[in-house]
Structure formats: structure tokens, C-alpha cells
Point group: C2
Chain length 201, copies 2
């Protein structure tokens, strides 16, 4: 059977499980949302979401230097226990996230981190573009929201396509790893320096 | 002969050369400032200062991870030419600066970077302490300036004692390396993350 993207999205929001796990769970439950949730819970894949309230203050600080020192990234990845931070899986995730930041230059972690003024400016540009190109007023809202999704997927780390597997978002990768480790994993902060950027020559 | 600290300081400000080189130059010139400057120029040790106006937009971004991922540092060290950035000496300096930041937690690069409100708060604390402990009003200014020097040497990277050679400031280390390479070297920016700092548990 066909599983709609919006059903998958709803299940992901309920459980925090990965997109592929949600698709599989829905296929197995014949599209029944509640059964799919139970299914994921049973497999432990919904664990991360249930633990979202727990404090993530352990973890690791990692760095990645690219292009012979022209680009550098520092990132803090938090989890709840030091033992989780010591797993190879967590360390791989840290490295993947640092490489992602080096390669794809996000400016924020999540959409909520974008300053309201910047969102407003962005929305206004797309609204005007849509109107200028003769789109009917009643479609403009939808068009703008579509453009904003795209904007988020460019500037927000968790919304970016994962460079090593572009079918997944970085946020999915983190949730999936968290589910497997039974931990709430959070990207706390990052810095990305590109040599000489902003220096007046 | 005795060379006073203030004479050494004056020579350093004129030439940008290191403290030891300045002491040596003054000893050789018998304390004559102009001769000492010429002396340093001849040896190429005053080069960095004369080049201070040139643009430093090359260099390297480096990282240092300490204590198994509990502390991480990212730093951008600029110079004028890519060939200087490729020297072992520049790379050693980068590593030393990153380790310094990890170990000594500076919050700013130089005194000018400390926000005026923080300076004012700091000054006021020391002024009150001096007055409360019964110090005569006329000495308070001097006492406060002494305390501020100490404050700078704690919070400003370039004013900190270099951890691998505490008789030198980090700023001296950078000026000396710059003089030897004939380059203007600048610490452009840094980030230091200590795992879990500021997270509410």
C-alpha cells in the first residue's frame, strides 16, 4: 500500500523515530498510526522522543579541519550519559555532524534559531517574487511556505540533507542514533571558520 | 648595566620585537633607544611591527581537542602569505595558541575586546576594595590600574603568560614568530567549548 508523506511525518513527530523506520512501521501496520507507534515503541526506536525531556549534559566536543586548514569546525554534541558518549556510534555521529557543517555551511542549528527579522525578510522576498510573477494571491501563502522550507533546509543544520546520504536529514540521523542508543542527543552549538572570510583586503 | 622595564616596553612598542630581543638590543646599545631600534631593524626582528598595516587574510584554521573530548578549541591564525602559513614554525604557533586557549580559557583576544561595561564593573570592584581596606585616595588609581593589568593577563589571550614558557606573554610569542617569518600574524578569532558548560541539569 501507499504510505503518504504526511502520515510518515506525523509518526515521526509522535515518536522521533527515523523516516525509514516510520515507513516500515506504517507498512507493517497497514497504515494504522496507533499500531505503528506501538510497533516502534516495541522495537525501542521511539525511545529518543520519550526521553526528550531528560537533560543532555554529557557528550563530546569534536573538531574537523578541512582543505588543509582553510575551513575548521568545532561542535558540541550532547547526550545523557558518558557511557553513550564513549560508543563508536556516538563518535561517528560527531564526526559526521562536524563534516556536514564543514561541507554545507549551516548558519543555525534549527529553524527556531533563525532570528525573526531574518525570517521576515526572507518571507517578504518570496511573497513579492510570487506576486510579481503574477501568481494568484490565494496561492502566495503556500508558495512562500514552500520557499521557507527550502530556506530552512539550506541554513539549518538539522534540516539539511545529510551529505553522506542525501535522502535523510541531519536531524533524522541524530534522532535515529539517539533511538538506537536510547539517549536524547542534541547538537548544542557549533562554530565554523572559513579562513579569511570577512577580512577586508 | 641595568635596563629598566619601561625602556624595554618602549622599545617593544616601537618595534614589535620580543622582550628578550629588546633586552639584548638595549644591553648592546648601552641603553640607547635609537641604536637599539636600528639594531633590531638590522636583524629583521622589527619587521613584524613595520608590516603591521599589511593585510593578514591568509593563514590557517586549527583545532585542539583536550581531555578526551571534554574541551575543544577552534582558532583562526592569520598571516599575509600562504607560503608563511605552510611553514612548520607557523603551524607550531597555531598549535601552541590552540593549546593555550584550551588550558588557560581566555575570553577575549586583546584588552580592546573587553566590553566597556565589564571594564567599568571590574574597575569599580577594585576601587571599592582599595578604599574599603583603607588605602589613601591618592594611591587608589595606581592600585586599580595594577589590578586591571592582572585582569587583562587573565582574560585576554595575548596578555596571558604562555603556558609552555610563562616568562613570555602569548602576544610576544606571536610577535616574535611574525618577526622571524617577516609577516604580520594575527589571532583573528577563537571558540572554546567546555562540555556541558551552562546546561541546566
Amino acid at each position: 500500500m501507499e504510505i503518504s508523506a504526511s502520515t510518515v511525518k506525523e509518526l515521526r513527530e509522535k515518536t522521533g523515530a527515523g523516516i525509514l523506520d516510520c515507513k516500515k512501521a506504517l507498512a507493517e501496520s497497514g497504515g494504522d498510526m496507533e499500531k505503528a507507534v506501538d510497533n516502534l515503541r516495541r522495537k525501542g526506536l521511539a525511545a529518543a522522543a520519550r526521553k526528550m525531556g531528560r537533560v543532555a549534559a554529557e557528550g563530546l566536543v569534536g573538531a574537523y579541519i578541512h582543505a588543509g586548514g582553510k575551513i575548521g569546525v568545532l561542535v558540541e554534541l550532547n547526550c545523557e550519559t558518558d557511557s553513550a558518549a564513549r560508543t563508536a556510534e556516538f563518535q561517528t555521529l560527531l564526526k559526521d555532524v562536524a563534516m556536514q557543517i564543514a561541507a554545507a555551511s549551516p548558519r543555525y542549528i534549527r529553524p527556531q534559531d533563525v532570528p525573526p527579522e531574518e525570517l521576515e525578510r526572507e518571507r517578504e522576498i518570496h511573497r513579492r517574487q510570487a506576486l510579481d510573477s503574477g501568481k494568484p494571491e490565494k496561492f502566495v501563502g503556500k508558495i512562500v511556505e514552500g520557499k521557507m522550507e527550502r530556506f530552512y533546509s539550506e541554513v539549518c543544520l538539522l534540516e539539511q540533507a545529510f551529505i553522506k546520504d542525501p535522502d535523510r536529514k541531519v536531524g533524522d540521523l541524530i534522532l535515529e542514533t539517539g533511538a538506537r542508543l536510547g539517549e536524547n542527543i542534541q547538537v548544542r552549538r557549533f562554530a565554523r571558520y572559513h579562513l579569511g572570510e570577512g577580512v577586508e583586503r
